[in-house]
Subunit: 307 residues, 4 copies
């Protein structure tokens, strides 16, 4: 088995680079569409805090739906299991991430917190309990990453807000089923700011260390998260973290992961490390095409699959 070091990561990137030409950069908002497609980076943060990187690992990008793991994590620190999970499910949706079909049929209860509807419910819950949800998320992310100057990309956030019709529809539909309590616009603003967090692979890998093990989680979150909740979040990432391709990803990579349409993916090797990859061009499901390949190669060479 190869040694996991920077050179190993570089070699993986070299192998994957031919894929950069394939895939499609997200185009639904101008701010994302302008990101050059030929970027590729990876960062690994081991259980003992060592950081390995290759490629454009220090280049910041829009973390988009990766933030859904963070908002869920915060919600888990503020709500009882019962209160949280009566408003959102834990199962794969089998539907596109922004679909309203299932949401209408299931009376406004989203299938899981990683589709848009579910993340909006989570943000609605945060709005009810946090005094300054945007500032508090920044504070958390800075603390977890150990980087003080992480910010929201305001251009991305306002561009998303200007194209928020579909998410507004989702929020209003949930409101019609009494599963949305706050002002739709206020919650959308928070939601889009979270999506517009601008972070690098290095920062993401460090930030998500708390999902590597219960011990690390305890160090980073104290009593706020109990030892089972790390497993819970990883389980959700495994079954619902990769949009409608969770099964395919589990098959190829075998790790819990969450992707964003900015081209980032965070994956966890339980007990061992967190990995962040980034490449802006997406496959048909909205997951980074080259990023998925990087994770597949790493997992394969190092036998990281949990299965």
């Amino acid at each position: 088995m190869p040694r996991l070091d920077n050179a190993f990561l570089e070699s993986i990137l070299d192998e994957v680079r031919p894929l950069l030409a394939r895939g499609q950069v997200a185009s639904y908002i101008p701010a994302l569409a302008q990101v050059p497609a030929d970027q590729l980076g990876v960062a690994v943060c081991t259980h003992d805090g060592q950081l390995l990187t290759a490629g454009d690992a220090s280049q910041r990008f829009s973390i988009q739906s990766i933030s859904k793991v963070l908002s869920l994590t915060v919600a888990m620190t503020r709500y009882s299991e019962q209160d949280l999970w009566q408003r959102v499910g834990k199962d794969p949706s089998g539907q596109p991430f922004n679909s309203l079909v299932q949401l209408e049929m299931e009376q406004g209860i989203p299938r899981n917190p990683f589709i848009n509807a579910g993340a909006l419910v989570v943000c609605d819950m945060l709005q009810s309990r946090l005094s300054a949800p945007r500032q508090q998320m920044l504070t958390l992310v800075r603390r977890l990453s150990g980087v003080e100057d992480i910010h929201y990309d305001r251009q991305v956030a306002s561009s998303e807000l200007a194209h928020s019709a579909r998410n507004a529809a989702i929020a209003w539909l949930m409101k019609s089923f009494d599963n949305f309590n706050n002002d739709v616009n206020t919650v959308l603003e928070n939601y889009f700011h979270y999506c517009a967090l601008s972070m690098s692979c290095e920062e993401l890998a460090r930030c998500f260390r708390y999902l590597i093990s219960p011990e690390l989680c305890k160090v980073l979150f104290r009593q706020e998260l109990n030892h089972r909740q790390v497993s819970h979040i990883n389980a959700l990432m495994m079954t619902s973290g990769m949009y409608n391709a969770a099964g395919e990803f589990a098959w190829r990579v075998g790790l819990p992961a969450k992707s964003g349409v900015g081209g980032g993916i965070v994956a966890i090797v339980p007990g061992k490390m967190s990995i962040a990859v980034w490449s802006p061009a997406l496959d048909q499901f909205g997951n980074s095409l080259a990023g998925t390949a990087v994770l597949e190669h790493i997992s394969d060479r190092l036998a990281f699959s949990v299965f």
Copy 2:
């Protein structure tokens, strides 16, 4: 951490027994409806072949959808990856296991091999390549379990065939999309026989040892399955093995598993062991209610979750 032995398993069963009153025995065919609800058994087969049991572990029952893992496994030995996976997907369906809605929308390609449509495609493929699909399945199961007198429960099989309208509809719908090649009735007969395999927890735990590790798989299947295919099957079980509650099960138990409406569940602790539990009364998703609880307790006490 407690020691895994028969006494430990007994203690788990004792804890779970109060749940036996809840849940509902499958009633869609008379042969299943008659099974007494108060039975509960568990068997563990370790990587080195040790067998631990408790409760009704030697009582045989109808393995039902657990057979879908076996038929998939056989198909993987007879078809190239490409040929197999162009006819069935790898992703969670988000729909009831016997639904035709998604199948129609997705042009006759089932989402995964563990919903009925997917398993029927797999059986159709076996019919095309095996000379005697029912006999060969028996041979395989007997070899894997090391038990010669495993049989199909003919009463169950014919009872299912007499209530096969929904599955016939699924097969014909796939035929209309050119994703079903053999005679519908012939394939349904094989499918229902596989479902009607009558096995005990002991036999199931031994039978599914091949999913514990690539090494064991190699011992048991020789060149027929390569080392990645064990991971592949486990990944599919994790994301799609528990009907529409795969996410909830991953959350609670954290292990790849496959259930059947006969009340059996097979779970794999990768690298360590296979577990078979059985209790006939089902939860709203069609999974054994007490059986799930047994697995949850075992996984929790012994920190078996892969996450």
Copy 3:
């Protein structure tokens, strides 16, 4: 065949009155829920302008979705056929009137102008072309009815606006498909005001005279509507005017008609007369239960069915 006069109408109402106990008054907004269920009225306006009435024919009620015919009519005077019908279809939806499922699948183009989505698109179009959409609707309705003091029921309008989440979701979903151009709230306010028009059967029967024949339409609308457009509106009412029971209604009554959840129904006997009935208790499809029966009896006794 009986003679159509007030006494005939009275006799029909007497026959139908036992049905008043069945059905359910609309309860989704308090203002509607308070309307007593035992009211029943009918008014007929003949081609030559004669008015026949029985029961609570001068009692005003909330016309609700009957207004969808009026807003469509106004839109037809302001938009070319091409411009109008590229944004909304002409076919039955087969879905509940407030569903988003089909709307998402069909890319934000509502099936017809009499489901909520379609009426909202029409209101959006009116907002783009009318300087004061609410005042102009009042002016039109007063002119057609010949009654100056017709008003919006402001209590109903604001009650609906306070429960507008579902319709907001529909509007936002259409906006996400670029089929909604104006401010959602502004259009919703207009839409709910139209729904909150407070009119009696007498006023409605007179108001809808313009659909009796091309000649009457020409008298009332001059060049604004051409002779085919009367047929067009009646055709739409026949196939999509009674929510999800258009087929059943065509079967039983055989007349183009439009109902509202306030319990009103307007029906047209082409070439002969307009009929307005009212009774607040609704059947399972949202149509006035006793009102439908009144129309069925009238149509049956006088052989009014167009079929």
Copy 4:
């Protein structure tokens, strides 16, 4: 207003002929795909039995779904209203004619007798009550048309049976909901034979005279159909007779009608006449493109719309 005679019909055909190049001949079975697209015929049968024709009015073609009106008619002579309409609805489906989605959601009760599922239920009912369903249909059609040598096109019937997977799926799905009582294959054979009735516009126009008026119906069916049932069938044709374009057709033509994928359409001008048109090339909804245009022109010039 022009005089309705053969020359008038010829002039309409001349106007419409340029449309023959558009549209697409049905291709799902070879026997239909071979029909030349440039054929166009029309026949009118007046209330007093006069027959007017133009173009290829004596050319026989496969009547396909037009037969659904005939099978429904026979069922109405053999079943009480209650018994018949508890097994099939009367409302537009809003779905493709061969879809299973709604059928599954609505527990195996088809929306109306003119989609495939509904017609199959009707054929299932006929199989339960008629001794020789195929022979009896021939006898009826011959009697109504006054033509003794009308036959099933056996090549079409067997070609359809060889491509019957989708309809088999529909039948089996209804069987799974206990809404299908006879052998699926037997009923499919009847169903496809009905579809394969080979008739000309002349024969169809004469055959459907019974829907022109209650009086004609009484003459042709005696006590078997009561006076309201003619209206009922026409109402169903209006709301559900033209596949998913019933609203558009009512808008353009304003007459109850039923089309078939063989390119035929039968329309009724209540009280006046029956019209049969034929041209094999279909629009996107499966209705004869030129045939619809012929009906639109006739209805428009002679003010035949019921609205």
